[in-house]
Amino acid sequence: MGKQMTEMLKGTLEGIVLAILAGQPAYGYEITARLREQGFSDIVEGTVYALLVRIEQRGFVDVAKVPSEKGPPRKVYSLNALGGDHLEEFWKTWTFLAERIEQLHHHIEPPKEEGE
């Protein structure tokens, strides 16, 4: 995963994580593991955790503490109504952006080489 991917992912990771949580509640490690399975091989747990802290602060998720075999209880995050609204807005923004970028991709010719 290159530098460009990391940069682009910064703005979209929040939406991606909300979308994962819309499917089913999960804890940090599960979310990281799913992202890695889907090809985001460089994603680390700390980055996902920082994001979970943020969406919790903004009230997009509810948190349940589930006892674990060893160590402290795990925090399981689930999307709430406010988070659902935010996710919907994310998809609208994403669609707009993706369409515009596709247009640029298909309708603007790259500059031709000299002598062609």
């Binding site: 990391t6 940090g28 490690y29 460089d42 680390v44 747990e45 700390g46 980055t47 955790y49 920082a50 994001l51 802290v53 943020r54 602060q57 674990s68 060893k70 160590g71 402290p72 795990r74 925090k75």
Partner: protein
């Protein structure tokens, strides 16, 4: 450096208690995880510029939650912070900008531009 930050939070008894609890919690971590959390904590203290005791404590407690979980699961520290620890640390810090001293200057800049706009510039 550490003393300055301890003094910073001695203003509030509650924050002071939280700070002691946080330090005691760190003592329970395996040595290598403690090395990691100490490194991150030091960076947060320098780069964070957080002057609100409660925000600072919230940040450190969130950090302890992460490292404690990693230690319990035996997750390698590299899988937590990645190849670029500074990038992770900066992302983490962004959650606590409420408590940064820089906020005063951000407000000052915003006010100056508002003033200029109102004066017709």
């Amino acid at each position: 450096m550490a003393t300055r930050w301890i003094e910073l939070i001695t203003g509030s008894f509650e924050d002071k208690k939280r700070w002691r609890q946080y330090k005691a919690r760190k003592e329970q971590f395996p040595a290598s995880y403690r090395t990691a959390i100490d490194g991150l904590e030091r960076y947060f203290m320098y780069a964070g510029g957080i002057v609100k005791g409660d925000v600072l404590m919230q940040m450190l407690e969130d950090l302890a939650d992460l490292i404690e979980r990693a230690a319990a699961d035996g997750t390698p520290i590299r899988d937590i912070v990645g190849d670029e620890p500074v990038e992770f640390a900066d992302t983490f810090l962004q959650n606590y900008t409420d408590g940064q001293w820089l906020n005063k200057e951000r407000k000052r800049l915003t006010d100056a531009i508002d003033q200029a706009g109102n004066d017709g510039a």
